[in-house]
Each structure stands twice: as C-alpha cells, then as structure tokens.
C-alpha cells in the first residue's frame, strides 16, 4: 500500500520535472538530433516562418531556429548546473559549519554572507569577468561567487536552530562524532530548503547567463544560447514571433519545472502546496453522509439505545446529553471512523471522566460536540446542551451559533497551557478578552475587576500581579489556572478539560484537582474530564466512561467501575496503576498487544485480540453496552459494560469478580 503510494508519488515527481528532463536530454543529444548546424547561416533564407524544412523558422541570419534551441538547451543548462552545483555545495557546507560551530566562526561567516548578499550580483560578475576575461569557465566562476551566499545563510540558520536540539544530545551520547552529526543529521535537513531556493535560482541563473552573453561577457555570439536568442529576437517581436517565443517558453518551462521539483523534493512524501493549487484535493464535503461502503462494512456493535431508555434517564438536570456520537475523518477514498456510537451524559454538579489510552478517541469524543475538531471531521449523532428552553442541539451548529455557546455556556481547558496562551500577551489581556467576549466587561477597569475575580476563583493568590505577567513568567500549574480562569469567564454550565493535569508535577496536579472539585461543588458546574490516568480520575470524577478503540467499553459510577470493574480492559487499566508499597521490582500486570485500532477495523469486540478472557464469539460478535447484571435498569448513567460474557452467562459472574485477570 505504502509502496504503491510511494511509487505514485515518484511518478508524479518525474512528471513535474518533465520539461527539465526533456531539455536536459535534448541538450545532451543536440549534436545527433539537430537538423542543422546552429552557427551556420544562409542569409538568403533569413527570417523564414516555420515550415516543414525549418519547424521553428529561421532567424535574421538564416540559421535554423530549432537547432539553435536544442544547442541552446545544452549551453544554458550546463552553465546553470555547474553554477548551482558549486554554489549549493560551497554555500551549504560553509553555512552548516558556521551554524554548528557557532562562536566567532559563525559571526565572521555571517558578516561575509551579509556583504556578499548585499552586493549587486551583476557588478560582481562584471568585475570577475573584467579581470579574468570572458569565457564559459569565468562565467561559471563569476555566477558562483555571487550566488553561494543565500545557500550559506539558509543552511546556517537551519543548523543553528538545531544545534541545541535534544536529538543531537542523544546522538552525542550514542557516541556520534562531529562529522557524522553534521553530515548525516544536520546537512540533509539544511539541504532541503536550499534545494527549494535552488529551484527558484535556476531561472535567475539562466537569465544572468543570457544577459552576460548579450553583453559579450559570457557565451560568445555565434553559439546558440536561450537568453541570447531571446534578446536577439526582441527587435523582431512584431514581424517574426518565432524568434523570441520558443526560447521564452523554454526558459519559463524550465523555471516552472524546477520550482515544482524543488518543492516536491523538500516536502518529501507530503504533497507540495503549489500542486494542491494545480490539482485541488478530491475530498468529500465535511458533513457528507458516510459513504455506502463504510456503512455496509460497519456493523453497529453498540445496540442503539432504546428511545425510552434515553428518555427516562434523569433528563431534568443533564447538562450535556450525547447520544450515538460518531466522528469520522477522510481516509484514502472513504472515511474512517475514530469515534463510533458513543453515548454519555453529565449532570449538574457532576464530573464525568472519559478514560482511555492515547488514540482511543476520548479527546475526539469530548471535543466533537463543540466543533473543536479539524474541519475535515464529520460529526454525526446528537449532543444536547442544557435542558428545557435552554436546550440546544450542538451537532451541526453554524459557526455563528457556536460562538454563542463556546466560551459562554461551555468552557474548555486544554492540556498544553504553554501553547494555548499567546506568549506576547499578558494573562490579564487573555482573561479580559474572554470577559469582553461574554459581554460581562465594560470599561477597562470594570473588565479588569472581573478578570481579577476570575483569577482569584481559579486559585491564583495575587490576581492583580498575575494579570500583569506574561505566560512564560508563570509556572505550568499557574498557567493552567489562568486557562481555567479564561474558561470560567462566561460562567459556563459545562467545563470540558482535556488532560488538564497531565503535564504537571504531582503536587501541582493534586492542587489543581482540588480546585476542579471545588469549582464543581461551589458553582455546581458540570465537567467532562479527559484523562489517561485512572488514579487521577479516581480523585475527582463522579462517573467514568472507559473508552477503547473509539467506543465506550464500560461506564458507570466511579466507585462501581473502580472497585468492581466488569470489562477486562478496565481491569487492565487498573492493574497498570502503580501501587506504592509493592516490593521493588514487582512487575505490573499488563495487557498483551497494542492499543486498539479504530472502531470499524474489527468485526467483533475491539479488545478481543488483547483480552485474557477472549472466547470464539468475541471475534465475530460485537458486544453491546449493557448492564453487567441482568435486570438492572438500562440507563445511560448506570453501570454498563460492553462484554459478551454477560448477561447470557451470569453463572460466571461470581468467579469473574475475584478470579485473576
């Protein structure tokens, strides 16, 4: 699959470079395929239009234009290639070395580069040729002297940026020497932008060669050369179009091809941006219904919640009610689901935790109702915020309606507070903006008073001081509190927190968990907390939904799920939590295999391949999310588990809760 895709990419790369390759081949073969000698003219046959004898006509001296074009390719491209090879090699090597060594070498080389870049290139070339005389070698030398500097500058910047990167430390620890680090790990990434620049440079060099040739300083006149042909044909633009157009088209084609090629090479396997413009991506509209084939191959393992079950759950205080939520992304020709048929709800003053491994779809499921996913994502199902008159269906909202919900009725806290906050704005400015957006602001002083109140609410001890500080001046825990203050600006009914404490130290984490619990208790807020850590969740949540492979596999009240887990996956997660007091070297009980694929990649239970209790039916028969004990009410917030062992085999229930897993 990847091989075929790689092959196709290469075919396309070759296709893009066709004009360049074509002219290179033609140039090499010019002596063989050219119909006439490009330098020998027949004055009686001057300025003939294209004819079978002269496919591109003849010039004012009666020389065959086609032959001149072919020989021109040879000269133009040879000189250009030589200049590029020298400039690229010398420039990249000098720049990479300066960037890696740093210190005075770097400062000296940088100054030299600055000087060379600021010199007018043509003047340098004229000076060199003036001293050394005309001729192809001197032309190459002159143009190389002028064009190496940008490559050195690019390579230097690139390498200097990577010099202190941890991956170089890692290589040094492996024992890699300087030569290997520069040659294998710094030059290739530095070379990529240089190649892109080189492609744009091709046109410049082709034109410079032509200009210098015209001035009598480059390729001597009887020899054909594109730029020279262009300039010679200029006086006859009106009368003899065939003189100037072919070299013009050739130069354009070569420059364009070189540009595309450079971009493709630089982007590796990714699609270069300019190609995307040329060939728009063939994609489905984001909210298109699922393609037929996906629907056909997808069995719906989670039995649709019976409508009466959905209705009889305590609807009066459910702040968020999500039913049958699915999220899919474009994948190849079709769409691939990452969240399938999830139903969850969270009531006022309660915290629901979505727990699962990375890639399980827990974050996607939590953010999907609020339109916070990639624009390519297609969300289906239902998600109702609020109750009674204030109830709003969140799926398929227009952007305008969304703005009236997000930040007002729903606050979101992300994991990485450093990247969420703008480094150039103070914490106060961030919160002020949120306050004004929700319409609670007024005069600057009024807004700031609200801001300080919010910061205090988020547990920041000196709000006035914190408001004046920038994100980098705060610790991770304080930034996370600032984010919470922003989320609280609209006095939301619901707070969604995506791994709010994962990047923090344990002591800071403990304080934040206390804060979240306090906000729930004091403000009666509902919260959805996404976490991979059951231990963290156990300090905070009221109910838990365990997510595996894009589906909820077990959900219910926290105490029940943690003390009496039904699903083997939940048990596996619990076993993975370190237990203080265990003897050093005690092995964790782990689940075999790797974290799951998407919800539609297996016929039966997604966990079957890792499950210690797997039965033959598990592989083919999808389990439904239902009460582990027969006869329990089919409520969304009751303890439910998606495992085939129940309720058809209740006899095993007793053994199950104590038996090893």
């Amino acid at each position: 699959m990847t091989g075929r895709r790689g092959g196709r990419a290469w075919t396309r790369t070759a296709l893009v470079a066709t004009p360049l390759i074509l002219f290179a081949v033609v140039g090499v073969l010019a002596p063989v395929i050219a119909p006439a000698d490009p330098t020998v003219g027949d004055l009686t046959a001057g300025l003939l239009p294209p004819s079978p004898e002269h496919p591109l006509g003849t010039d004012q001296l009666g020389r065959d234009q086609l032959s001149r074009m072919l020989y021109g390719a040879r000269i133009s491209l040879t000189v250009t290639a030589a200049v590029l090879a020298i400039a690229l090699t010398a420039g990249t090597a000098i720049g990479a070395l300066a960037g890696y060594l740093g210190g005075w070498v770097d400062r000296f080389v940088s100054r030299v580069i600055d000087v060379v870049v600021s010199l007018p290139g043509m003047l340098v070339a004229l000076a060199v040729i003036g001293v050394r005389g005309p001729g192809v070698e001197n032309l190459v030398l002159a143009l190389s002297l002028w064009s190496w500097a940008p490559y050195a500058r690019i390579a230097r910047a690139r390498v200097a940026g990577m010099r202190s990167s941890p991956h170089l430390d890692a290589l040094r620890l492996l024992g890699a020497g300087r030569g290997r680090i520069i040659g294998k790990h710094l030059l290739p990434p530095a070379l990529a932008p240089c190649l892109v620049y080189a492609s744009t440079d091709v046109g410049m060099i082709v034109l410079s060669v032509a200009t210098l040739s015209f001035l009598g300083l480059g390729v001597a006149p009887p020899h054909a050369e594109w730029g020279q042909m262009l300039i010679e044909g200029r006086p006859f633009l009106d009368s003899a179009w065939w003189l100037a157009y072919p070299p013009g088209v050739a130069i354009t084609a070569v420059v364009f091809a070189a540009n595309l090629l450079g971009e493709r090479l630089a982007a590796g396997e990714e699609r270069p941006s300019i190609l995307r413009l040329v060939r728009p991506r063939w994609s489905l509209p984001a909210r298109a219904p699922r393609p037929a084939h996906a629907a056909a191959t997808t069995k719906e393992p989670v039995a649709p919640t019976p409508p009466e079950a959905a209705r009889d759950s305590s609807e009066h205080d459910a702040v968020l009610r999500v039913r049958d939520l699915s999220v899919s992304y474009p994948d190849g020709g079709g769409r691939r689901r990452v969240v399938a048929g999830m139903s969850y709800e969270v009531r006022r003053g309660r915290i629901l935790a979505l727990v699962g491994e990375s890639g399980s779809g827990k974050t996607t499921a939590a953010l999907a109702p609020f339109g916070l996913l990639d624009p390519n994502a297609a969300v289906t199902g239902s998600a109702v915020l609020g109750t009674g008159a204030g109830a709003r269906q969140l799926v398929d909202l227009s952007p305008g309606e969304r703005r009236r919900i997000n930040g007002h009725r729903v606050g979101v806290v992300f994991q990485d507070s450093a990247s969420v906050l703008n480094p150039l704005r103070t914490i106060g400015a961030h919160v002020d903006e949120a306050v004004r957006n929700t319409g609670r602001g007024g005069h600057r002083a009024v807004t700031r008073r609200v801001t300080e109140e919010l910061l205090r609410l988020a547990g920041l001890p000196d709000p006035a001081k914190v408001a004046r500080e920038f994100p980098h001046q705060l610790s991770g825990g304080m930034r996370q509190r600032a984010q919470i203050a922003i989320a609280l600006a609209g006095e939301p009914e619901l707070l969604v927190a995506d791994e709010p404490t994962s990047a923090l130290d344990v002591t800071v984490q403990a304080q934040l968990l206390v804060l979240l619990a306090r906000l729930r208790d004091e403000l009666g807020m509902a919260m959805v907390v996404v976490s991979h850590d059951l231990a963290v969740v156990s300090r905070l949540a009221d109910s838990v939904a365990v997510v595996y492979g894009g589906r909820i596999v077990e959900s219910g009240p926290l105490a029940t799920v943690i003390t009496d887990p039904d699903h083997p996956y939940t048990r596996g997660l619990l076993d993975a939590v370190p237990r203080p007091g265990a003897a050093p070297g005690t092995r964790f009980r782990t689940m075999p295999g790797r974290a799951g694929a998407g919800p539609d990649e297996t016929e039966g239970c997604g966990f079957a391949s890792r499950c210690p209790l797997v039965a033959t039916a598990c592989v083919s028969e999808p389990p439904a999310l239902e009460a582990p004990v027969p006869g329990a009410p089919p409520r969304v917030d009751a303890h439910r588990s998606a495992c085939l062992r129940h309720p058809s085999r209740p006899a095993e229930a007793g053994e199950r809760s104590t038996g090893p897993c």
Partner: protein, 263 residues
C-alpha cells in the same frame, strides 16, 4: 557502577568560585550494577541537570562523576566516545530526541553504524531484535517519528539506548508522556532488561508512585539538593523529610476506600 561524589553544577559560568546560577549542589549518589535508583523531585529541582552531568553533556563545577571507576569528565575525544557506549540515556520527550528524518529502523541502526558494529545483515537482524524487545510492530519500522504515537516513540528511544547494551542507563522522565497502561509495559520492560543485562539504572521522575514499585532505592531531590535517600520501602512508608511526605500525599493512588466522596 555509578558514583556521583559532591557534584555541583550550574549555568552561566562561575564568579568568585560559585556558579552564577547554581542548579545542583553537593549531590552524592551511588548506583550499583543491576540496581535501579529512583531520583524524585519536582520540575526545576535540578534532576535533568544532574542527568546531563552524569552523561557528560554538562560539566560540573565541583565534584566528580565516575562510571565503572572512570571519571567521565576526564575523558576526551575517542576515549569519551568509546566510553559512551556504557552510559546511555532515555530522554523525557522522545519526539525531540529522535532525528525527525530517520525512520525507526534507521534510528535503531544509527548506534551500530556509529560504532561500526556488524555488517548490513547483522545490523538488520539486531534492529528487528530490538524492535521486538520493546514491543514495536515490525510494520512501524519504515515510519518516521512524526508518524508514531508517543508510546511508540519512547519505545524507539529505549530500543536505541539499549542497542549498545549499556552498563548504565539514565532515564529522564521516560514514562511521563505515556499512557498509564503503556507506562506499565515500559516499566516492566526496564525491570526485565535490568535483570537480564544487569545494568545500573538512574530513573528520574516526579512521580513517586512510578518509582515505588520499580526502584531499589530512592533519592528525593529539592532545590538542587538531595533531602532524603534510602531503600524504597523506608522512604515511601516512613518518610523522614517533610517534603517527602508532601510528595507522597500528592501522589495519586487507587485507594478508593479512603475516598470520602462517592456517588
């Protein structure tokens, strides 16, 4: 295996015999062969600087670091590079420590190339072995770090560190970025490898829970100093320093019984 004696280090050079910005002060710590020593502390306490000093990436302003009786900071050039085979490090952020342009297989073969071990075929076999060792699917061999999950990236980083069969492994928050379930398998893996290969391991973390089930001894670090060290059981059950007690109280555990609040 590893002896850290009276090490101080800092940044920004030295003035009047003191570091301009002292990060660690007078740290003394030993790791025996086949022993896992946990170093616990919060971010900014100097754990990572200590790791850089131990591996020779950062020069201490006082004290000495000896690995297998050899002073790491007295070595230069080729001798240093050869010595580095014995000390490997697993970094906190695997995404930043893997070369972004190398595939998994290339990254794992890199140390073998550097030390000119084996030929193409034996390297390829070794790479497959390493991938199997850390539980990587053979299919991911041709992917680049950007196409891997965090857990997979860290497995690659661990496999690369183990490629040279080091005698000392420094782990700097190796599981902090991982899911709990993945963390458990990685910790088991480290335990197994330690038993098999008998390397000493300095395991740096902010999470006492992680270390308490893994380490033979624990050292608690605060503001660049080690405030308490001893056998894991003693430190976690009878902490003497108030800071250790604070850390223990903050550590999330599964003891649901003690939770007052439930639904």
């Amino acid at each position: 295996m590893l002896e850290i004696v009276g090490v101080s280090a800092g940044y920004g050079g030295r003035e009047r015999g003191r570091d301009v910005t002292a990060v660690i002060e007078d740290v003394t710590l030993r790791v025996a062969a086949g022993e896992i020593v946990g170093l616990v502390g919060e971010s900014g306490c100097g754990k990572t600087t200590l790791a850089r000093v131990v591996t020779g990436l950062h020069r201490p302003s006082a004290g000495a670091v000896r690995v297998a009786e050899v002073d790491v900071h007295a070595l230069r050039g080729r001798a240093l590079r050869a010595h580095r085979r014995q000390v490997q490090m697993v970094f906190q952020d695997p995404c930043l420590t893997l070369s972004p342009r190398q595939t998994v297989r290339q990254a794992l073969a890199e140390p073998l190339h550097i030390h000119r071990i084996g030929d193409t075929r034996s390297r390829s076999t070794r790479v497959s072995e390493l991938m199997d060792l850390v539980g990587l699917d053979p299919q991911v061999g041709d992917r680049r770090p950007g196409q891997l999950s965090g857990g997979q990236q860290q497995r690659v980083a661990i496999a690369r560190a183990l490629a040279l069969e080091p005698r000392l492994l420094i782990c700097d928050e190796p599981v902090t970025a991982l899911d709990v379930s993945v963390q458990a398998t990685v910790l088991n893996l480290l335990c197994d490898l330690r038993d098999r290969l008998e390397f000493g391991c300095l395991f740096i973390t902010h999470d006492l829970a992680v270390i308490s089930q893994l380490a033979d001894r624990v050292a608690v670090m605060r503001h660049g100093r080690i405030v308490e060290q001893g056998p894991t059981g003693d430190v976690t059950t009878r902490p003497r320093h108030p800071y250790t007690r604070t850390l223990l109280a903050a550590t999330p555990t599964m003891d649901i019984e003690t939770k007052a609040r439930s639904v």
